[in-house]
Symmetry: C2
């Protein structure tokens, strides 16, 4: 299978490497920044391009893995290809392809957080698939099952909901980790001491619903402790706001 | 070593089992609810009591592992003991012991989240120690190093800060997991699909600072996606408030 990768960010990098590992041939890497295209292309033993006029039009699969707000302008330039065009975005609908005159298209959304510097085991990443036709879905499934054991068919509306849920479960959660690290920094305490707690909190909900394993002062209705906590952060209105908002939500959940 | 365990909740249960596993003899378990004392005592091959008049006064160590607001009333009844009295609470100061006339005392605060039904590996739990004297600290350290490889000396003020940080890193985080599960529930989507993301988000900060690995629309300043997300939860003022508050905090962090 001949694959062109459009994009060179975190998702593009990990996905392209995983696809190459299945035996596919990544023939080109496109990025509007040539240095970025080259960095990824060199890993994949592939050609780097920074203009879509240079696009190889004989590939079987074109993977558009770029920022949501750039998808439209790139896909617009992929009209008339014989191969299938897919994007990897959670919040962009499948309909973007039909509107832009693409014939064969789909979505392959990996529900995971990626950093370039951190290796990932693609086989445990949920892949959410959607395609413009049954045939194209089948083609995409054949690609996906080589990448991961967790392959789901998810329509655009459900995928948007998953993307939103992921913001809560991943992006907001990571920010809470940051806020806790900042609290410790005040006194020169090392963030290391919180790491086992962070891991265990995530491990716990692998086998239980988070609703069932909620702990802490807000869950217990321990107002005295909450007041002491608020007194400790009273000079920081943002932190106070977050503490109050989340505590209120926990209390409401268990009313 | 002879140990009395006062309390039969999550922390008491896991700590007592871990101490017994080091070879200590848990001679009594106290709870104001006899059934609870009996449940734990039976696991430890110990005596259950529900009145402090029945307390064995010959133990080397008394571990008070009960709700913060009950510590004072229980410790008040432990005056005159030869053995050392410790509590396990993050938010209660060491000074509670001196004020109540205890001679030998300390704190052993395990910085972890416990559920009775979930086994824990105590050797990877950070234990924060504090004691009333150098001798007592040494005694407590001897107990602690048998339990865990992560033993820290932490004063009451720093321990309170750790407890607050743990609310952000654990309690609030778990609530965000719950909110994401609730979002999926709307459409009958299974929470399982988010589990790899949750684990990876926690795993990532074991080797990087959360500040460095923040992702998501608020981090990118992707206002269009944030507006679409807010439109999806506009009927839920609490969720909207949380989304806006945390997004604002993320944006402010990376200004």
């Amino acid at each position: 299978m001949k694959v062109v990768c459009l994009g060179s960010g975190n998702v593009a990098t990990h996905l392209a490497c995983a696809i190459k590992a299945t035996g596919a041939n990544i023939i080109q890497v496109y990025s509007k920044t040539l240095a970025n295209a080259r960095a990824l292309a060199s890993v994949l033993n592939s050609q780097a391009i920074d203009h879509l006029e240079q696009l190889n039009r004989e590939a079987d699969l074109y993977i558009v893995s770029i920022n949501d707000d750039a998808i439209e302008s790139v896909v617009r330039q992929l009209k008339g290809l014989k191969g299938m065009v897919v994007h990897t975005a959670g919040a962009t609908s499948l309909s973007v392809f039909e509107e832009l005159g693409i014939n064969r298209y789909g979505v392959l959304y990996p529900l995971q957080t990626f950093s370039k510097s951190r290796p990932v085991d693609f086989s445990t990443i949920p892949l959410c698939l959607e395609a413009g036709s049954k045939d194209d879905l089948q083609t995409l499934q054949q690609v996906a099952v080589k990448l991961s054991t967790l392959v789901y068919e998810v329509n655009s509306e459900d995928r948007k909901l998953l993307h939103l849920a992921a913001v809560f479960a991943c992006n907001f959660t990571n920010h809470l980790y940051h806020l806790s690290a900042s609290l410790l920094e005040r006194k020169g305490l090392n963030f290391d001491i919180l790491k086992p707690l962070i891991l265990e909190t995530a491990a716990k909900v692998q086998n239980a619903m988070p609703y069932e394993v909620q702990t802490g002062p807000a869950r217990r209705g321990d107002e005295a402790t909450m007041e002491r906590h608020l007194a400790m952060i009273q000079e920081n209105p943002m932190l106070t706001d977050i503490y109050e908002t989340l505590s209120k939500s926990i209390k409401k959940t268990y009313l």
